[in-house]
């Protein structure tokens, strides 16, 4: 136990926690949106994120971006990777919806079934990168950790005076990127007409259709938006950690879902709050003790929060429970 380390490095740990939490938060959006509208835990969402990281690798490889490329290349490659990852993740999310959920919806299947097809889809996607593609294309696919070139090299941009905390370009990108995306999404859902449609379907699909909301479109939109956010998360993740792996989604997905619940599932701002909170708690606790208990910290915090606030920190919002 080393509380001194936590206190003395509080600034540093907070920055680390926010960085980690930003990624959780972005991925959490996908869970929260789908849950809000369909009351469904989309288990395949972690793999939507995973596909995004591979897409980044694919783009870098295709255009030959490596660490040490020129500035134009760095910006171009990063932007291209961002767009590609958003598209790929959104596409994957949509495909999951089509293949695993829509047929069930048409048949009016109970909620548990969606859970199982989601788990099935998740396994399939993991195996596609861990096994299927390896058989056809060989490396880098397979069950190994893969290096992604650090196109955007980590550099200290400025040092916060007083606390002497070095802030790097990648961290700025992650934190700012995550927050901007969240705000944009939040504004979209709460302000735009389509966003209102999303909330209406969340609360009462039948009546929503009587108001002229196309339910199928809304559901697709939700998967696409959630997927795109996971794509953004994927790019930011690779920028920070420079790796991917066939099963990389699992832990992040688990944490992101925890974050979504922590913040109040179905609530977009809740995802942000939950993600950041979880990231910070994990880092603080790991600083005091060590990282081998990380999941325990996360879940203990979850239980404690839910005991006092049964619907998460900010409560539910998209699909508020019927009173």
């Amino acid at each position: 136990m080393d509380f001194d380390a936590l206190i003395s490095g509080l600034d540093r740990h907070t920055l680390d926690g926010i960085t980690r939490g930003s990624i959780y938060a972005l991925v959490a959006l996908g869970y929260t949106m789908v849950y809000g509208v369909m009351k469904l835990i989309n288990f395949a969402h972690s793999e939507v994120f995973m596909v995004g990281t591979w897409t980044v690798l694919g783009v870098y490889t295709a255009i030959g971006a490596t660490s040490g490329s020129g500035l134009a290349m760095v910006i171009g490659a990063t932007l291209l990777a961002l767009i590609a990852a958003m598209l790929a993740s959104a596409g994957t999310a949509l495909a999951v919806e089509r293949i695993a959920y829509r047929p069930l919806r048409k048949k009016g299947a109970p909620a548990l079934i969606f859970l199982i097809t989601g788990i099935g889809c998740s396994m399939v996607l993991v195996e596609v990168f861990g096994q299927v593609l390896r058989v056809f294309f060989g490396r880098p696919f397979g069950r190994v950790t893969v290096n992604i070139p650090a196109v955007l090299e980590t550099k200290t941009v400025f040092t916060i005076p007083g606390v002497d905390l070095a802030v790097s370009n990648t961290r700025i990108l992650i934190i700012v990127g995550a927050i901007v995306m969240m705000l944009a999404l939040d504004a979209f859902v709460n302000r735009s007409r389509l966003g209102r449609g999303v909330r209406a379907v969340a609360q009462d699909p039948d009546t929503a259709s009587l108001m002229g909301v196309n339910q199928e479109r809304v559901i697709m939109l939700v998967f696409v938006l959630g997927g795109a956010m996971a794509g953004v998360a994927a790019l930011l993740y690779t920028v920070q950690y420079d790796i991917t792996k066939f099963d990389i989604g699992f832990i992040i997905g688990l944490k992101a879902f925890t974050a979504a619940v922590l913040g109040g599932i179905g609530n977009l701002r809740g995802a942000l709050v939950g993600g950041l909170f979880l990231g910070i708690v994990e880092v603080y606790a790991s600083a005091v003790w060590d990282s081998s208990w990380t999941n325990v910290y996360a879940f203990v915090v979850l239980v404690v929060v839910l005991m006092f606030r049964p619907t998460g920190i900010l409560g539910e919002s998209l699909g508020k429970a019927r009173a």
Binding site: R12, T19, T145, N147, Y241, I251, V283, S286, A287, S291
Partner: protein, 365 residues
């Protein structure tokens, strides 16, 4: 129209006294799943030894049993092998966990095992069974060797030791810590599947070590090392045999330049054709513990040549075996371990993405 099948289970098999020589050897390990890449080469190595063998009137087959490295999946496999008398030896288990879970089954079945890579100390030191033998030293020695490398070769006086809290990494790091004594300044634990090591990095930063040791596998070592280098920490990084393999270089990329992997495995003897043969048969350089796999098979084959025709005879033969192998000269002590003086530890340096032998280390004792 109803027939019955012969599924072994007792009387069948080829072990008739002095008669024909028809046997099977089982190789058990994670042939699928995330860890397959550190197991398959050794099983391939065993197969190569069998292929190169001129068995005379003996026909021997090797059967591969996939356990995914999971003890629960390994037990039915072991029961099957132990119950089928046509198996005369087992190569494996590749991992310590599955070995721990199955060695009593093999003991009950009286079938000798030779493990090519299970290094956990307790397998032979705490509750040894007669049938278990291994061609690798146990982690205590490996840990000591790593510590020795750190102090003698690197000259480190402030080592930061990290492990992955798992059955392989933790005891290894424990042993390193023990041997280093005061030369270790701080210890930290991570978790399998972790990719963000920020808390560990900040601990390293404030500890200001002159070397870092990691006990764990490639999947976590790669991001850990990258983040260490990203944070501008340039001190030497050294890991155990869990990092041994081409995948390490691939996964860590440029950040891995100069990282050191310790392995109780000598570089393949230049004069032997093993490397070339292996490459020809499997289309790649011999990977982790390929030579040990080859040696394990060779011991069993020698036993058959020697006239061992049942498990008891084979067990007796293996226990008393001495001979030169590819990886080391082989003999087993009463616990089933190869004698310490036969083992050579090598430090391999990651240069340009591949592991190059750097220096041999002899642990103290």
């Amino acid at each position: 129209a109803c027939g019955t099948t012969d599924t072994g289970g007792g009387s069948s098999g080829g072990g008739d006294e002095g008669g024909d020589c028809n046997f099977k050897i089982a190789a058990m390990g994670a042939l699928s799943g995330p860890n397959a890449s550190i197991v398959v080469p050794s099983v391939d190595g065993a197969q190569l030894a069998l292929d190169q063998w001129d068995g005379g009137d003996c026909t021997v087959e090797m059967e591969r049993f996939d356990t995914e490295g999971d003890p629960a999946k390994a037990t039915p496999v072991a029961t099957q092998i132990a119950g089928d008398e046509s198996f005369i030896g087992v190569i494996g288990g590749a991992f310590s966990g599955e070995t721990r879970a199955t060695k009593t089954i093999y003991q009950d079945g009286g079938i000798p095992m030779i493990s090519q890579s299970a290094t956990a100390t307790d397998l032979t030191q705490e509750d040894p069974v007669e049938v278990f033998h291994r061609l690798v030293p146990y982690d205590d020695y490996q840990g000591a060797a790593i510590a020795k490398y750190l102090t003698d070769e690197v000259g480190a006086t402030k080592v930061f030791v990290i492990d992955n809290a798992e059955a392989y990494g933790e005891p290894l790091a424990d042993r390193v810590e023990e041997t280093l004594g005061d030369a270790m300044i701080q210890r930290d634990k991570t978790e399998v599947g972790q990719t963000d090591f920020a808390p560990t990095i900040s601990k390293i930063e404030s500890a200001q070590p002159d070397a870092i040791m990691y006990g764990g596998y490639i999947a976590e070592a790669a991001p850990l090392l990258k983040q260490i280098r990203d944070a501008g920490i340039d001190v030497p990084f050294i890991g155990g045999d869990g990092l041994y393999g081409a995948d390490f270089g691939n996964a860590v990329g440029e950040a891995g330049e100069g990282a050191v992997v310790m392995c109780p495995c000598a570089p393949i003897d230049e004069s032997s054709t093993f490397a070339a043969d292996f490459e020809e048969a499997y289309g790649g350089a011999p990977g982790a513990y390929a030579a040990e796999g080859y040696d394990a098979m060779t011991v069993f084959l020698k036993g058959l040549e020697d006239g061992a025709r049942d498990r008891a005879a084979m067990q007796e033969f293996v226990t008393g075996y001495t001979g030169d192998g590819l990886s080391k000269s082989i003999a087993f002590d009463e616990n089933g371990d190869v004698p310490q003086d036969q083992v050579s530890y090598w430090a391999y340096k990651n240069t340009g993405g591949t592991l190059q032998p750097e220096v041999e280390v002899k642990p103290a004792e």
